[in-house]
Protein backbone atom coordinates (compact mmCIF):
# COMPACT_ATOMS: atom_id res chain seq x y z
CA UNK A 1 0.00 0.00 0.00
CA UNK A 2 1.18 3.48 -0.85
CA UNK A 3 0.90 6.32 1.67
CA UNK A 4 0.41 9.98 0.84
CA UNK A 5 1.44 12.57 3.42
CA UNK A 6 0.71 16.28 2.83
CA UNK A 7 3.12 18.56 4.69
CA UNK A 8 2.89 22.31 5.12
CA UNK A 9 5.68 24.82 5.65
CA UNK A 10 4.70 27.08 8.53
CA UNK A 11 6.20 29.48 11.05
CA UNK A 12 8.30 27.53 13.56
CA UNK A 13 6.30 26.76 16.69
CA UNK A 14 8.97 28.39 18.88
CA UNK A 15 8.59 31.78 17.20
CA UNK A 16 6.16 34.29 18.61
CA UNK A 17 4.22 35.66 15.63
CA UNK A 18 4.07 39.45 15.19
CA UNK A 19 1.23 41.27 13.51
CA UNK A 20 2.33 43.70 10.79
CA UNK A 21 1.76 47.32 11.71
CA UNK A 22 -0.42 47.92 8.63
CA UNK A 23 -2.80 45.19 9.77
CA UNK A 24 -2.37 43.17 6.57
CA UNK A 25 -1.17 39.98 8.20
CA UNK A 26 1.55 38.36 10.26
CA UNK A 27 5.18 39.29 9.60
CA UNK A 28 6.96 36.26 8.15
CA UNK A 29 10.07 37.99 6.83
CA UNK A 30 13.25 36.64 8.42
CA UNK A 31 11.23 34.29 10.57
CA UNK A 32 12.26 30.67 11.07
CA UNK A 33 9.98 28.34 9.13
CA UNK A 34 9.56 24.60 9.73
CA UNK A 35 7.37 21.67 8.92
CA UNK A 36 4.00 21.92 10.66
CA UNK A 37 4.51 19.81 13.84
CA UNK A 38 1.40 17.70 13.22
CA UNK A 39 2.77 16.87 9.76
CA UNK A 40 6.03 15.65 11.27
CA UNK A 41 3.89 13.27 13.29
CA UNK A 42 2.13 12.22 10.07
CA UNK A 43 5.45 11.54 8.32
CA UNK A 44 6.68 9.56 11.32
CA UNK A 45 3.52 7.44 11.36
CA UNK A 46 3.92 6.71 7.67
CA UNK A 47 7.52 5.62 8.20
CA UNK A 48 6.47 3.33 11.04
CA UNK A 49 3.79 1.75 8.84
CA UNK A 50 6.45 1.14 6.23
CA UNK A 51 8.80 -0.32 8.82
CA UNK A 52 5.98 -2.67 9.91
CA UNK A 53 5.67 -3.85 6.34
CA UNK A 54 2.16 -2.39 6.02
CA UNK A 55 3.20 0.29 3.54
CA UNK A 56 5.48 0.03 0.54
CA UNK A 57 6.05 3.64 -0.48
CA UNK A 58 5.67 7.07 1.12
CA UNK A 59 4.94 10.08 -1.07
CA UNK A 60 5.00 13.53 0.54
CA UNK A 61 3.35 16.53 -1.04
CA UNK A 62 3.37 20.23 -0.27
CA UNK A 63 1.50 23.16 -1.73
CA UNK A 64 3.33 26.42 -1.33
CA UNK A 65 6.29 28.61 -2.23
CA UNK A 66 9.51 27.26 -3.77
CA UNK A 67 11.07 27.11 -0.32
CA UNK A 68 8.56 24.44 0.71
CA UNK A 69 11.11 22.18 -1.02
CA UNK A 70 13.11 22.39 2.20
CA UNK A 71 10.14 21.01 4.11
CA UNK A 72 9.81 18.18 1.62
CA UNK A 73 13.54 17.44 1.87
CA UNK A 74 13.14 17.20 5.65
CA UNK A 75 10.39 14.62 5.15
CA UNK A 76 12.58 12.72 2.69
CA UNK A 77 15.44 12.80 5.20
CA UNK A 78 13.14 11.37 7.86
CA UNK A 79 12.37 8.46 5.54
CA UNK A 80 9.80 9.36 2.88
CA UNK A 81 10.58 8.03 -0.60
CA UNK A 82 9.43 10.68 -3.02
CA UNK A 83 8.13 14.25 -2.98
CA UNK A 84 5.82 16.48 -4.96
CA UNK A 85 5.86 20.26 -4.71
CA UNK A 86 2.85 22.07 -6.10
CA UNK A 87 4.47 25.44 -6.36
CA UNK A 88 2.55 28.67 -5.95
CA UNK A 89 3.13 32.05 -4.34
CA UNK A 90 -0.58 32.44 -3.71
CA UNK A 91 -2.04 31.46 -0.38
CA UNK A 92 -4.21 28.42 -0.92
CA UNK A 93 -7.07 27.87 1.53
CA UNK A 94 -7.87 24.43 2.99
CA UNK A 95 -10.67 23.89 0.44
CA UNK A 96 -8.24 24.60 -2.42
CA UNK A 97 -5.56 22.44 -0.82
CA UNK A 98 -8.08 19.62 -0.45
CA UNK A 99 -9.05 19.92 -4.12
CA UNK A 100 -5.43 19.72 -5.25
CA UNK A 101 -4.79 16.81 -2.89
CA UNK A 102 -7.86 15.01 -4.28
CA UNK A 103 -6.25 15.22 -7.74
CA UNK A 104 -2.90 14.01 -6.44
CA UNK A 105 -4.72 11.16 -4.70
CA UNK A 106 -6.38 10.20 -7.99
CA UNK A 107 -2.95 10.08 -9.65
CA UNK A 108 -1.12 8.26 -6.87
CA UNK A 109 -3.88 5.92 -5.60
CA UNK A 110 -2.64 5.71 -1.98
CA UNK A 111 -4.33 3.37 0.49
CA UNK A 112 -4.09 5.95 3.24
CA UNK A 113 -3.58 9.71 3.30
CA UNK A 114 -2.16 10.92 6.62
CA UNK A 115 -2.41 14.65 7.34
CA UNK A 116 -1.86 16.81 10.38
CA UNK A 117 -5.03 17.67 12.30
CA UNK A 118 -4.25 21.36 12.14
CA UNK A 119 -1.76 23.76 10.60
CA UNK A 120 -0.41 25.97 13.38
CA UNK A 121 -0.57 29.13 11.23
CA UNK A 122 -4.18 29.23 10.03
CA UNK A 123 -5.40 26.91 12.83
CA UNK A 124 -8.14 25.77 10.44
CA UNK A 125 -8.37 22.06 11.23
CA UNK A 126 -10.22 21.35 7.99
CA UNK A 127 -8.11 19.98 5.16
CA UNK A 128 -8.22 16.26 6.03
CA UNK A 129 -11.97 16.25 6.58
CA UNK A 130 -12.49 18.16 3.31
CA UNK A 131 -10.30 15.77 1.38
CA UNK A 132 -12.25 12.83 2.79
CA UNK A 133 -15.49 14.47 1.65
CA UNK A 134 -14.21 15.16 -1.87
CA UNK A 135 -12.99 11.58 -2.26
CA UNK A 136 -16.01 10.01 -0.56
CA UNK A 137 -13.66 8.25 1.87
CA UNK A 138 -13.87 7.58 5.59
CA UNK A 139 -11.99 9.89 7.99
CA UNK A 140 -10.22 9.17 11.26
CA UNK A 141 -9.43 12.58 12.70
CA UNK A 142 -7.26 13.50 15.74
CA UNK A 143 -5.63 10.07 15.79
CA UNK A 144 -3.59 8.80 18.72
CA UNK A 145 -3.36 5.24 17.39
CA UNK A 146 -3.55 3.81 13.87
CA UNK A 147 -3.77 0.07 13.20
CA UNK A 148 -4.16 -1.27 9.67
CA UNK A 149 -5.96 -4.63 9.64
CA UNK A 150 -6.53 -6.08 6.18
CA UNK A 151 -8.86 -3.83 4.22
CA UNK A 152 -9.66 -1.56 7.14
CA UNK A 153 -7.90 0.68 9.64
CA UNK A 154 -8.75 1.12 13.32
CA UNK A 155 -8.18 4.68 14.47
CA UNK A 156 -8.24 5.77 18.10
CA UNK A 157 -9.27 9.41 18.25
CA UNK A 158 -8.62 12.07 20.89
CA UNK A 159 -12.08 13.50 21.57
CA UNK A 160 -13.31 16.03 24.12
CA UNK A 161 -14.49 13.34 26.52
CA UNK A 162 -11.46 11.05 26.21
CA UNK A 163 -10.77 8.49 23.49
CA UNK A 164 -12.92 6.92 20.80
CA UNK A 165 -12.09 4.14 18.35
CA UNK A 166 -13.57 3.91 14.87
CA UNK A 167 -13.00 1.40 12.11
CA UNK A 168 -12.62 2.79 8.61
CA UNK A 169 -12.84 1.08 5.26
CA UNK A 170 -9.67 1.57 3.20
CA UNK A 171 -8.69 3.72 1.40
CA UNK A 172 -9.15 6.33 4.12
CA UNK A 173 -8.00 9.62 5.58
CA UNK A 174 -6.24 9.96 8.95
CA UNK A 175 -5.34 13.21 10.71
CA UNK A 176 -2.77 13.14 13.50
CA UNK A 177 -2.95 14.33 17.09
CA UNK A 178 0.00 14.99 19.39
CA UNK A 179 0.11 11.61 21.13
CA UNK A 180 0.28 9.46 17.99
CA UNK A 181 4.06 9.21 18.12
CA UNK A 182 7.27 11.14 18.67
CA UNK A 183 8.81 12.09 15.34
CA UNK A 184 12.42 11.09 14.75
CA UNK A 185 15.21 13.44 13.83
CA UNK A 186 16.81 12.98 10.45
CA UNK A 187 20.39 11.74 10.74
CA UNK A 188 23.16 13.48 8.82
CA UNK A 189 23.66 10.57 6.39
CA UNK A 190 19.92 10.51 5.74
CA UNK A 191 19.89 14.26 5.13
CA UNK A 192 22.60 13.71 2.52
CA UNK A 193 20.73 10.79 0.96
CA UNK A 194 17.52 12.82 0.80
CA UNK A 195 19.15 15.25 -1.62
CA UNK A 196 19.05 12.66 -4.36
CA UNK A 197 15.53 11.39 -3.72
CA UNK A 198 13.02 12.40 -6.43
CA UNK A 199 11.16 15.70 -6.00
CA UNK A 200 8.67 16.59 -8.72
CA UNK A 201 7.81 20.20 -9.34
CA UNK A 202 4.24 20.83 -10.40
CA UNK A 203 1.99 23.86 -10.80
CA UNK A 204 -1.59 24.22 -9.54
CA UNK A 205 -2.79 24.96 -13.10
CA UNK A 206 -1.89 21.42 -14.14
CA UNK A 207 -4.64 20.02 -11.94
CA UNK A 208 -7.58 21.91 -13.42
CA UNK A 209 -9.28 22.84 -10.15
CA UNK A 210 -10.54 26.18 -8.94
CA UNK A 211 -8.47 27.21 -5.96
CA UNK A 212 -9.33 30.89 -5.90
CA UNK A 213 -9.88 32.11 -2.34
CA UNK A 214 -13.37 32.22 -0.89
CA UNK A 215 -12.42 34.16 2.19
CA UNK A 216 -11.08 37.67 2.07
CA UNK A 217 -8.90 38.81 4.94
CA UNK A 218 -10.13 42.29 5.72
CA UNK A 219 -7.61 42.96 8.47
CA UNK A 220 -5.38 41.29 11.01
CA UNK A 221 -4.95 42.79 14.44
CA UNK A 222 -3.27 42.00 17.72
CA UNK A 223 -5.40 40.44 20.41
CA UNK A 224 -6.18 42.45 23.51
CA UNK A 225 -3.02 42.50 25.62
CA UNK A 226 -3.04 41.18 29.14
CA UNK A 227 -0.77 43.03 31.45
CA UNK A 228 1.15 41.36 34.19
CA UNK A 229 -0.51 41.76 37.57
CA UNK A 230 0.97 41.61 41.02
CA UNK A 231 3.14 39.10 42.78
CA UNK A 232 2.20 37.96 46.25
CA UNK A 233 4.88 37.11 48.77
CA UNK A 234 3.33 34.17 50.55
CA UNK A 235 0.62 31.53 50.48
CA UNK A 236 -1.28 33.53 53.12
CA UNK A 237 -1.43 36.51 50.79
CA UNK A 238 -2.64 34.25 48.00
CA UNK A 239 -5.38 32.88 50.26
CA UNK A 240 -6.44 36.45 51.04
CA UNK A 241 -6.62 37.21 47.31
CA UNK A 242 -8.71 34.12 46.68
CA UNK A 243 -11.10 35.31 49.39
CA UNK A 244 -11.31 38.73 47.73
CA UNK A 245 -12.18 37.00 44.48
CA UNK A 246 -14.91 35.11 46.29
CA UNK A 247 -13.56 31.69 45.37
CA UNK A 248 -12.48 30.79 48.89
CA UNK A 249 -14.50 31.11 52.03
Amino acid sequence: MKLLVPVKRVIDYNVKPRVKSDGSGVDLSNVKMSMNPFDEIAVEEAIRLKEQGVASEIVVVSIGVAKAQETLRTALAMGADRAILIETDAEVEPLGVAKLLAKVTAEEQPGLVILGKQAIDDDSNQTGQMLAALLGWAQGTFASKVEVEGDSVAVTREVDGGLETVKLRLPAIVTTDLRLNEPRYASLPNIMKAKSKPLANRKPEEFGVDISPRLETVSVSEPAKRSAGIKVGSVDELVAKLKELGVAA
Partner: protein, 309 residues
Protein backbone atom coordinates in the same frame (compact mmCIF):
# COMPACT_ATOMS: atom_id res chain seq x y z
CA UNK B 1 -31.31 33.98 6.66
CA UNK B 2 -31.92 30.61 8.27
CA UNK B 3 -29.05 29.20 10.31
CA UNK B 4 -28.86 25.52 11.20
CA UNK B 5 -27.03 24.65 14.43
CA UNK B 6 -25.62 21.22 15.24
CA UNK B 7 -26.81 20.12 18.68
CA UNK B 8 -24.09 18.49 20.71
CA UNK B 9 -25.40 15.93 23.15
CA UNK B 10 -24.16 13.01 25.17
CA UNK B 11 -26.00 10.38 27.17
CA UNK B 12 -29.33 12.08 26.42
CA UNK B 13 -28.20 15.47 27.71
CA UNK B 14 -27.77 18.58 25.61
CA UNK B 15 -24.30 20.04 26.04
CA UNK B 16 -23.52 23.63 26.94
CA UNK B 17 -21.36 24.12 23.84
CA UNK B 18 -24.56 24.10 21.79
CA UNK B 19 -25.85 27.17 23.63
CA UNK B 20 -22.94 29.38 22.55
CA UNK B 21 -23.40 28.28 18.95
CA UNK B 22 -27.09 29.21 19.20
CA UNK B 23 -26.12 32.74 20.31
CA UNK B 24 -23.77 33.08 17.35
CA UNK B 25 -26.44 31.79 14.95
CA UNK B 26 -29.01 34.21 16.35
CA UNK B 27 -26.80 37.06 15.11
CA UNK B 28 -27.14 35.69 11.58
CA UNK B 29 -30.85 34.98 11.34
CA UNK B 30 -33.59 32.53 12.23
CA UNK B 31 -32.17 29.72 14.33
CA UNK B 32 -32.96 26.10 13.51
CA UNK B 33 -31.38 23.17 15.31
CA UNK B 34 -30.43 19.71 14.16
CA UNK B 35 -30.60 16.89 16.67
CA UNK B 36 -29.10 13.75 15.17
CA UNK B 37 -28.61 10.48 16.99
CA UNK B 38 -30.36 7.38 18.20
CA UNK B 39 -33.26 7.67 20.65
CA UNK B 40 -32.86 11.43 20.84
CA UNK B 41 -36.50 12.36 21.50
CA UNK B 42 -35.53 13.74 24.90
CA UNK B 43 -32.71 15.82 23.49
CA UNK B 44 -35.08 17.24 20.87
CA UNK B 45 -37.55 18.22 23.60
CA UNK B 46 -34.78 19.97 25.51
CA UNK B 47 -33.53 21.65 22.33
CA UNK B 48 -37.01 23.02 21.59
CA UNK B 49 -36.94 24.82 24.96
CA UNK B 50 -33.82 26.86 24.16
CA UNK B 51 -34.69 30.54 23.94
CA UNK B 52 -34.70 31.98 20.44
CA UNK B 53 -34.98 28.76 18.50
CA UNK B 54 -37.64 28.55 15.75
CA UNK B 55 -37.45 24.93 14.70
CA UNK B 56 -35.79 21.67 15.72
CA UNK B 57 -35.06 19.08 13.03
CA UNK B 58 -34.71 15.59 14.46
CA UNK B 59 -32.97 12.75 12.70
CA UNK B 60 -33.38 9.68 14.88
CA UNK B 61 -31.58 6.72 13.40
CA UNK B 62 -28.93 4.15 14.32
CA UNK B 63 -26.74 5.56 11.53
CA UNK B 64 -26.29 8.75 13.57
CA UNK B 65 -25.70 7.06 16.94
CA UNK B 66 -22.04 8.08 17.26
CA UNK B 67 -22.09 11.20 15.12
CA UNK B 68 -19.92 9.54 12.47
CA UNK B 69 -19.09 12.34 10.03
CA UNK B 70 -19.46 10.02 7.03
CA UNK B 71 -23.12 9.44 7.90
CA UNK B 72 -24.00 12.82 9.32
CA UNK B 73 -22.57 15.02 6.56
CA UNK B 74 -25.04 13.92 3.83
CA UNK B 75 -27.90 14.54 6.27
CA UNK B 76 -26.71 18.09 6.90
CA UNK B 77 -26.12 18.71 3.20
CA UNK B 78 -29.76 17.74 2.54
CA UNK B 79 -31.00 20.24 5.12
CA UNK B 80 -28.74 22.95 3.72
CA UNK B 81 -31.04 23.21 0.70
CA UNK B 82 -33.23 25.28 3.02
CA UNK B 83 -30.64 26.98 5.23
CA UNK B 84 -27.99 29.56 4.45
CA UNK B 85 -25.62 28.81 7.32
CA UNK B 86 -24.49 25.73 9.24
CA UNK B 87 -22.87 26.22 12.63
CA UNK B 88 -21.33 23.75 15.04
CA UNK B 89 -19.59 24.34 18.34
CA UNK B 90 -15.79 24.10 17.90
CA UNK B 91 -15.72 20.80 19.79
CA UNK B 92 -14.02 17.66 18.50
CA UNK B 93 -17.42 16.54 17.15
CA UNK B 94 -18.02 19.86 15.40
CA UNK B 95 -14.51 20.03 14.00
CA UNK B 96 -14.91 16.52 12.63
CA UNK B 97 -18.23 17.14 10.88
CA UNK B 98 -18.27 20.77 9.71
CA UNK B 99 -15.38 20.64 7.18
CA UNK B 100 -16.85 17.51 5.61
CA UNK B 101 -20.13 19.38 5.14
CA UNK B 102 -18.31 22.46 3.84
CA UNK B 103 -16.43 20.53 1.17
CA UNK B 104 -19.59 18.76 0.01
CA UNK B 105 -21.23 22.18 -0.34
CA UNK B 106 -18.09 23.59 -2.02
CA UNK B 107 -17.77 26.20 0.71
CA UNK B 108 -14.71 27.38 2.62
CA UNK B 109 -15.35 26.87 6.33
CA UNK B 110 -14.79 29.66 8.83
CA UNK B 111 -13.19 28.01 11.86
CA UNK B 112 -13.51 28.97 15.50
CA UNK B 113 -15.23 32.35 15.17
CA UNK B 114 -14.91 34.89 17.98
CA UNK B 115 -17.56 37.30 16.73
CA UNK B 116 -20.12 37.93 14.03
CA UNK B 117 -19.40 41.29 12.40
CA UNK B 118 -22.07 41.09 9.72
CA UNK B 119 -23.86 38.53 7.55
CA UNK B 120 -20.58 37.70 5.76
CA UNK B 121 -17.93 38.84 8.20
CA UNK B 122 -16.44 37.29 11.25
CA UNK B 123 -13.35 37.44 13.44
CA UNK B 124 -11.26 34.37 14.21
CA UNK B 125 -7.94 33.68 15.92
CA UNK B 126 -4.93 32.60 13.86
CA UNK B 127 -1.35 31.73 14.89
CA UNK B 128 -2.36 30.37 18.29
CA UNK B 129 -4.42 33.46 19.00
CA UNK B 130 -1.44 35.78 18.52
CA UNK B 131 -3.40 37.48 15.76
CA UNK B 132 -7.08 38.06 15.17
CA UNK B 133 -8.25 38.04 11.56
CA UNK B 134 -11.38 39.77 10.33
CA UNK B 135 -12.56 37.88 7.30
CA UNK B 136 -15.33 38.15 4.75
CA UNK B 137 -16.80 35.06 3.14
CA UNK B 138 -17.71 35.16 -0.54
CA UNK B 139 -19.56 31.84 -0.40
CA UNK B 140 -23.34 31.86 -0.75
CA UNK B 141 -23.67 29.46 2.19
CA UNK B 142 -21.64 29.70 5.37
CA UNK B 143 -20.17 26.81 7.33
CA UNK B 144 -18.89 27.95 10.70
CA UNK B 145 -17.48 26.53 13.91
CA UNK B 146 -18.01 28.62 17.02
CA UNK B 147 -15.58 29.16 19.88
CA UNK B 148 -17.67 28.51 22.99
CA UNK B 149 -15.88 30.97 25.25
CA UNK B 150 -16.52 33.88 22.85
CA UNK B 151 -20.32 33.83 22.95
CA UNK B 152 -22.78 34.04 25.82
CA UNK B 153 -24.84 30.91 26.31
CA UNK B 154 -28.43 31.04 25.11
CA UNK B 155 -30.98 30.33 27.86
CA UNK B 156 -31.98 26.70 28.13
CA UNK B 157 -35.59 27.64 28.74
CA UNK B 158 -38.11 30.13 27.44
CA UNK B 159 -38.30 28.85 23.88
CA UNK B 160 -41.08 26.92 22.20
CA UNK B 161 -39.75 25.65 18.91
CA UNK B 162 -41.62 23.21 16.71
CA UNK B 163 -40.10 19.76 16.31
CA UNK B 164 -39.91 18.26 12.85
CA UNK B 165 -38.62 14.78 12.03
CA UNK B 166 -36.16 14.47 9.16
CA UNK B 167 -35.99 11.32 7.06
CA UNK B 168 -32.69 9.57 7.66
CA UNK B 169 -30.19 9.26 4.86
CA UNK B 170 -28.80 5.74 4.71
CA UNK B 171 -25.57 5.02 6.57
CA UNK B 172 -22.61 5.07 4.19
CA UNK B 173 -20.94 1.99 5.66
CA UNK B 174 -17.58 3.77 5.30
CA UNK B 175 -16.91 3.77 9.02
CA UNK B 176 -18.15 2.15 12.18
CA UNK B 177 -17.92 2.90 15.86
CA UNK B 178 -15.83 0.40 17.85
CA UNK B 179 -15.75 1.81 21.36
CA UNK B 180 -14.90 4.72 23.61
CA UNK B 181 -13.05 5.42 26.81
CA UNK B 182 -14.88 8.38 28.19
CA UNK B 183 -13.72 9.28 31.67
CA UNK B 184 -16.50 9.95 34.15
CA UNK B 185 -15.58 12.58 36.69
CA UNK B 186 -17.35 14.13 39.64
CA UNK B 187 -15.57 17.38 38.95
CA UNK B 188 -16.99 20.16 36.77
CA UNK B 189 -16.42 19.91 33.03
CA UNK B 190 -13.35 21.79 31.84
CA UNK B 191 -14.96 23.96 29.18
CA UNK B 192 -17.85 25.15 31.36
CA UNK B 193 -16.14 25.34 34.78
CA UNK B 194 -15.99 28.62 36.70
CA UNK B 195 -12.66 27.72 38.27
CA UNK B 196 -9.88 25.60 36.81
CA UNK B 197 -6.68 24.32 38.39
CA UNK B 198 -4.14 23.14 35.81
CA UNK B 199 -0.88 21.34 36.35
CA UNK B 200 2.23 21.17 34.19
CA UNK B 201 5.38 19.18 33.68
CA UNK B 202 6.65 20.15 37.13
CA UNK B 203 4.17 17.71 38.71
CA UNK B 204 6.58 14.83 37.93
CA UNK B 205 4.17 11.88 37.60
CA UNK B 206 0.52 10.91 37.79
CA UNK B 207 0.63 10.14 41.54
CA UNK B 208 2.09 13.54 42.34
CA UNK B 209 -0.39 15.25 40.04
CA UNK B 210 -3.22 13.47 41.82
CA UNK B 211 -1.90 14.19 45.31
CA UNK B 212 -1.27 17.89 44.73
CA UNK B 213 -3.65 19.17 42.05
CA UNK B 214 -6.84 17.19 42.73
CA UNK B 215 -7.23 18.16 46.44
CA UNK B 216 -6.66 21.84 45.58
CA UNK B 217 -9.23 21.62 42.79
CA UNK B 218 -11.69 19.93 45.11
CA UNK B 219 -11.26 22.63 47.76
CA UNK B 220 -12.07 25.26 45.13
CA UNK B 221 -14.81 23.26 43.42
CA UNK B 222 -12.69 23.50 40.30
CA UNK B 223 -12.20 21.49 37.14
CA UNK B 224 -8.74 20.09 36.44
CA UNK B 225 -6.70 20.90 33.37
CA UNK B 226 -3.14 20.32 32.23
CA UNK B 227 -0.43 21.45 29.85
CA UNK B 228 0.56 19.36 26.87
CA UNK B 229 3.75 18.34 28.64
CA UNK B 230 1.74 16.87 31.54
CA UNK B 231 -0.53 14.98 29.14
CA UNK B 232 2.32 13.71 26.96
CA UNK B 233 4.10 12.44 30.05
CA UNK B 234 0.95 10.53 31.01
CA UNK B 235 0.14 12.36 34.27
CA UNK B 236 -3.46 12.82 33.06
CA UNK B 237 -5.49 11.79 29.99
CA UNK B 238 -5.59 13.77 26.71
CA UNK B 239 -8.94 15.39 27.44
CA UNK B 240 -7.30 17.51 30.17
CA UNK B 241 -5.12 19.42 27.71
CA UNK B 242 -5.70 23.17 27.58
CA UNK B 243 -4.26 25.11 24.67
CA UNK B 244 -4.05 25.94 20.99
CA UNK B 245 -4.57 22.32 20.03
CA UNK B 246 -6.47 21.22 23.13
CA UNK B 247 -9.41 22.81 24.91
CA UNK B 248 -10.09 26.52 24.95
CA UNK B 249 -11.24 27.73 28.37
CA UNK B 250 -12.12 31.08 29.91
CA UNK B 251 -13.14 30.53 33.54
CA UNK B 252 -13.51 33.18 36.24
CA UNK B 253 -10.31 31.92 37.81
CA UNK B 254 -7.53 29.88 36.20
CA UNK B 255 -4.76 28.57 38.45
CA UNK B 256 -1.62 27.44 36.58
CA UNK B 257 0.65 25.30 38.72
CA UNK B 258 4.14 24.46 37.44
CA UNK B 259 3.28 25.58 33.91
CA UNK B 260 5.78 27.78 32.05
CA UNK B 261 3.29 29.58 29.82
CA UNK B 262 4.26 28.57 26.27
CA UNK B 263 2.27 30.40 23.57
CA UNK B 264 0.43 27.18 22.76
CA UNK B 265 -0.77 26.92 26.36
CA UNK B 266 -1.64 30.62 26.65
CA UNK B 267 -3.75 30.29 23.48
CA UNK B 268 -6.14 28.11 25.43
CA UNK B 269 -6.55 30.10 28.64
CA UNK B 270 -5.54 33.73 28.28
CA UNK B 271 -9.13 34.91 28.11
CA UNK B 272 -9.70 33.70 31.68
CA UNK B 273 -10.94 36.50 33.93
CA UNK B 274 -8.30 36.10 36.63
CA UNK B 275 -5.12 34.12 36.10
CA UNK B 276 -3.14 32.88 39.08
CA UNK B 277 0.28 31.31 38.58
CA UNK B 278 2.46 29.33 40.94
CA UNK B 279 5.95 28.77 39.54
CA UNK B 280 9.39 28.66 41.10
CA UNK B 281 10.94 30.56 38.19
CA UNK B 282 10.19 34.26 38.54
CA UNK B 283 10.97 34.76 34.85
CA UNK B 284 8.48 32.14 33.64
CA UNK B 285 6.38 33.65 30.80
CA UNK B 286 3.18 32.69 32.61
CA UNK B 287 3.82 35.64 34.97
CA UNK B 288 3.49 38.03 32.01
CA UNK B 289 -0.22 37.20 31.80
CA UNK B 290 -0.92 36.32 35.44
CA UNK B 291 -2.97 38.72 37.55
CA UNK B 292 -1.65 37.14 40.71
CA UNK B 293 1.70 35.38 40.82
CA UNK B 294 3.37 33.39 43.54
CA UNK B 295 7.04 32.58 43.03
CA UNK B 296 7.43 29.42 45.06
CA UNK B 297 8.20 25.73 44.99
CA UNK B 298 4.86 24.10 44.29
CA UNK B 299 5.77 21.12 46.46
CA UNK B 300 5.51 23.29 49.55
CA UNK B 301 3.15 26.03 48.32
CA UNK B 302 0.35 23.83 46.99
CA UNK B 303 -0.11 21.64 50.10
CA UNK B 304 0.03 24.77 52.26
CA UNK B 305 -2.57 26.49 50.08
CA UNK B 306 -4.87 23.47 50.05
CA UNK B 307 -4.53 23.24 53.83
CA UNK B 308 -5.44 26.88 54.38
CA UNK B 309 -8.53 26.90 52.17
Amino acid sequence: MKALVWVEHEGGALKDATLSAVSAAAQLGEVHLLVAGQDVGGVAEAAAQIAGVAKVHVADDAAYAHALAENVAPLVVGLMAHHEAFLTPATTTGKNIAPRVAALLDVMQISDILSVEGPDSFTRPIYAGNAIATIRSKDAKKVITVRGTAFAKAERTGGGASIEPVAATAGTGLSSFVGAEIAASERPELTSAKIIVSGGRALKDSETFEQLIFPLADKLGAAVGASRAAVDAGYVPNDYQVGQTGKIVAPEVYVAVGISGAIQHLAGMKDSKTIIAINKDEDAPIFQVADIGLVADLYTAVPELTGKL
